[in-house]
Amino acid sequence: SQQGEEDPQALSIQEGENATMNCSYKTSINNLQWYRQNSGRGLVHLILIRSNEREKHSGRLRVTLDTSKKSSSLLITASRAADTASYFCATASGAYNTDKLIFGTGTRLQVFP
């Protein structure tokens, strides 16, 4: 069963606009990660936020985490055509064993020039 569910499933925007994707999960976590996947390629790690953090930035990426609502959001500012990809959240859980990540079903982002 999926731990993370992304919303929306698909998003289309124009270059320069901001893109926001949301992820909800079911159980308590140690950390939550976001990955990007370009068509036909493997996943690429973008950012990791730990359960005791509320917000994190990396370049044009901003991730927030609300553990009380079991949700996270990924904001891509000033989007570019090259940001077109699928984005997945993944959660790591467990007091002692964080060996496994559970991935959501992803958001497909299309950025038009």
Partner: protein
Amino acid sequence: DAGITQSPRHKVTETGTPVTLRCHQTENHRYMYWYRQDPGHGLRLIHYSYGVKDTDKGEVSDGYSVSRSKTEDFLLTLESATSSQTSVYFCAIRESELIKKSDTQYFGPGTRLTVL
């Protein structure tokens, strides 16, 4: 790509035949993973390994077996392939830092398997 390669990259096979996919890494990472990716399901963990000869099942392990006789190689075997195992298979390694534990995973390029 963290030195991860997968072979073959594409394979077409028939129902009932055995298939082995190989994942090779060059950076001595302890943890290795096999996922399958299907439309509407995201990535689902099949098996993973936390050391040579140490493996454990994931969410969708039925019909699959794995072996890890060397640190650098993690093999996924479909003993008797079925059409439901048509999918894209990804291998991943977990970044392993002795001082700062990290859960970040790095993925290979994938193997597209079609079972007719």
